[in-house]
Symmetry: C2
Subunit: 207 residues, 2 copies
DNA sequence: TCCAGTTTAAAACAATCGTTTGAATCAAAC
DNA sequence: GTTTGATTCAAACGATTGTTTTAAACTGGA
């Protein structure tokens, strides 16, 4: 097995287990067993368990943020300087994250929410580093659409939006399913995305 | 020291440490040391570390839910059968939770968010048991105000609202503070509550 | 074929974990 | 003052943790 294959299998197993049980409750033996590699491979390839976590965070977040940046730039280019509709901006922010639910192995709780809520030393700073440029970019876009809003208001509303998104991504679809007595199709990600975009768009524009 | 004092000190120390570092990463030795009690006291009074977690969850959640129930019933009684304004319902749901931020020791990350996101076996079911009656009660109240909404829609919007609330309660005020370059006063809980209520009220009423 | 560098394998490391034990201590009832 | 039950204490238990070590297996270029 090549080195890249080994690293990928470790990352994949770690993503599943961290999402399912959290970082401290997951042992390296569990990860390497599921990945089918030797225990020492984690320390060899990633230096430490903490190193694996940081690599996993980057591995999961960076593609999402890259997609957000690309889609926002394409939309702004196409608009030729005109402000984008608010729901368009919000959808561009939310869709790459929610798409994880569709692309990932079925039923896997999403690692993205776990990364935001895992209280690990240094992780919050790393997440802030990865998210700050994206947030600034989207705040600027919203400000062009809602010029009467202050940046602080937009940031606070974005905070609410991210919270709603993370909670939807979290391992709680069962809660939604049981509470609605099966009426909500938790696998219909297009519907969930539409509803979330509408909810947040209205929230941003509140009187 | 009486037995009740011992249990309270353990609960208090556990609340701080679980909120700060999460459940699996917090050792009983750390808790008992901070509480100033003997290590064996946890197993004596709560049976096990898991038993302590369950007791803490009930200790933290039940007062909030009791306040929600009481305030909603008082408001409905005063309205004499008329539907309550939406923002009134939402404020009654959010305020008892956000008040924790004011009442708790300053700067303490809120345990409420951690409890929702800690992936511990059995904890999700316990949280569902504690929250289900409250949610059903509030869904019924909202449905009287927004009769054109289906229960499923209200539940989904409530899900978004809870996500926004938990993210605000989470240990991320520093993120808000730095992103807004200090313009957002993260200690002004009245302002944060007002904004969250407005955001969610608009979200519930979206076209 | 040989060799240098890389990756894996199994075992052992010290440290820490939750839990249990049994004696010591406490408070109150008789 | 003695007894009884509840509570606290220090110590130790076995198990598991992340990490390191040593040798074996593999890799691709001369």
């Amino acid at each position: 097995m090549s080195a890249e294959q080994t690293k990928d299998r470790i990352l994949h197993a770690a993503q599943e287990l961290f999402a399912e049980k959290g970082f401290p409750a997951t042992s390296l033996r569990e990860i390497t067993q599921r990945a089918g590699v030797n225990l020492a491979a984690v320390n060899y390839h990633f230096g430490s368990k903490d190193g694996l976590l940081e690599a996993l965070v980057r591995h999961c977040i960076e593609p999402i943020n890259a997609a957000r940046m690309r889609m926002l730039e394409e939309a702004e280019d196409a608009a030729q300087g005109a402000p984008l509709p608010l729901d368009r901006i919000i959808r561009i922010f939310l869709e790459p994250a929610l798409r994880q639910l569709t692309d990932c192995d079925a039923k896997m709780p999403c690692i993205l929410s776990r990364m935001h809520h895992e209280p690990h030393p240094g992780l919050e700073a790393l997440m802030a580093d990865l998210l700050t440029p994206i947030i600034r970019r989207f705040v600027a876009a919203v400000q062009r659409t809602l010029p009467e809003r202050t940046p602080s208001e937009i940031i606070l509303h974005g905070h609410f939006m991210i919270g709603a998104m993370l909670h939807l991504l979290d391992a709680q679809p069962s809660m939604l399913h049981t509470m609605s007595e099966g009426a909500i199709d938790v696998n219909d990600n297009d519907y969930l995305l539409d509803q979330l975009v509408s909810f947040c768009s209205a929230g941003f524009q509140h009187a």
